[in-house]
């Protein structure tokens, strides 16, 4: 009998010890606060409190899988011509890139070397883009290297410029203007980040996308208005379209370290890259 009593006693003590150690989720988060990335004062885009805030209904929903419309020519993945008037280093680089293109020589094939395509080129890779629209944010995942963009719709401000981390897709904030979603992007990483045939960007590069859905939601249209006073004069404008594709999904695509050992073109495409 005493054996059973002792077993019960030990089990009771263990249960008590376990309960005493149990902590709430908040207490555990506090313990990890040094490791969890935060932006104080701003609810995350997926926080229920943020998602459930009252907002006007959006004019459209981009949720779906989209494929860039190159039906009128493969070269339409590029954002020119027409091109703006390039200045400074961009003028030289543009001319070199055009000459290389005319002679079918590789030039600044940064993407082939696994540098991210970045905005705007990531939008016109020949791969589908999955878009998921929520009240607070739009997630865009290009099938090409699974490159990820997020466009915040929750009214937040840009990150403090002293703290921001520049990225190839930049920081994008969107707002609705009538039937158009206007997305402004800045804080765009410049290192081996080029447009079309090796056109460089500076930290003053800004992109505005004016987004509409056409033909009952079958066509996504984005007008690009790009400025970079270091590299060109005025606005560089170009309009692209994407087609809704309901018979596909995006998959996993990785740029592996040894990928280029198996791709002859990329070993020849390093001319003009930043080192």
């Amino acid at each position: 009998m005493s054996i059973y009593r002792n077993i019960l006693l030990v089990a009771g003590l263990l249960a008590w010890a376990t309960l005493a150690q149990a902590q709430t989720a908040e207490e555990r988060r506090q313990k990890l606060s040094g490791s969890i990335m935060q932006h104080p004062g701003q609810l995350g885009a997926l926080a229920p409190e943020n998602l459930n805030k009252e907002r006007p209904a959006p004019p459209f929903d981009l949720t779906g899988t989209w494929f860039v419309d190159l039906s009128e020519g493969f070269a339409n993945f590029m954002f020119g011509p027409p091109y703006p008037e390039f200045i400074g280093q961009a003028k030289t680089d543009f001319e070199e890139g055009q000459a290389a293109r005319a002679e079918r020589r590789p030039y600044r094939d940064a993407i082939g070397q696994c540098f991210p395509a970045g905005i705007p080129m990531i939008m016109t890779r020949v791969w589908p883009i999955a878009m998921v629209q929520l009240p607070t944010v739009i997630y865009m995942i290009s099938n090409f290297n699974n490159s990820f963009r997020q466009i915040y719709l929750d009214g937040r401000d840009y990150t403090n410029p002293d703290e921001v981390i520049y990225t190839y897709n930049g920081e994008s904030l969107g707002k609705w203007e009538g039937d158009t979603l206007v997305v402004d992007t800045q804080y765009i990483e410049t290192y081996n980040h080029y447009i079309d045939t090796g056109i460089p960007i500076s930290e003053e590069f800004r992109v505005q996308e004016r987004i509409k859905l056409l033909e009952g939601g079958e066509i996504l249209q984005i007008e690009y208005i790009m400025t970079d006073p270091v590299n060109w004069v005025g606005e560089w404008r170009n309009t692209k379209q994407w087609l809704r594709v309901d018979n596909t999904d995006i998959g996993e695509v990785e740029c592996l370290p040894d990928l280029n050992d198996n791709l002859p073109s990329t070993q020849a495409g390093q001319v003009g890259l930043e080192r």
Binding site: L70, S71, E72, G73, F74, A75, F77, M78, A100, R101, R104, R105, P106, Y107, D109, I111, G112, Q113, R125, V126, W127, F144, N145, G251, E252, V253, E254, C255, L256, L259, D261, N262, L263, P264, S265, T266, Q267, A268, G269
Partner: protein
């Protein structure tokens, strides 16, 4: 009659025009390949990678032009190759096959000592043909 034909086929013509536009740039530039030239390589498969974003082949054999020996052949994405009839196990190490490729414009020796080409078509060991195998054509990596 001709004008009517044009009108009725406007969409197809437009599409054809688009398809004929040379795909100079794919995910990365394929400008390094001489798409006017086709090399026939008969040899043995030493590696077949069925992976995104590009499949690839290594073959050791005799080339109709250029240098005999190891060739690295760049392909498009597996999902696109599926439509030509390619499968994950279409090639195995040791298979005797014939490949048709656009060679690199300049005879560059790659890091592993191989020559480089852009896939156009293949004749597998059992005679199955995939892609274009008439000794013509332009490969694509898009």
């Amino acid at each position: 009659m001709f004008i009517q034909l044009i009108k009725h086929n406007a969409t197809k013509l437009l599409l054809l025009t688009g398809l004929l536009s040379v795909p100079v740039y794919a995910h990365h530039s394929t400008a390094a390949f001489d798409t006017e030239k086709v090399v026939r390589i008969e040899g043995t498969i030493t590696q077949f990678r069925w992976i995104n974003p590009h499949a690839s082949i290594k073959i050791d054999g005799d080339a109709s032009e250029g240098i005999d020996g190891l060739w690295t052949v760049e392909m498009t994405a597996p999902n696109i190759l599926l439509r030509q009839g390619w499968k994950r196990n279409s090639l195995n190490e040791g298979d005797k096959v014939v490949l048709f490729v656009n060679p690199l414009k300049n005879t560059v020796t790659l890091n592993d000592g191989s020559q480089g080409g852009l896939y156009i078509g293949a004749i597998l060991a059992d005679g199955t043909t995939l892609g274009q195998t008439d000794g013509q054509g332009q490969g694509t990596a898009d």
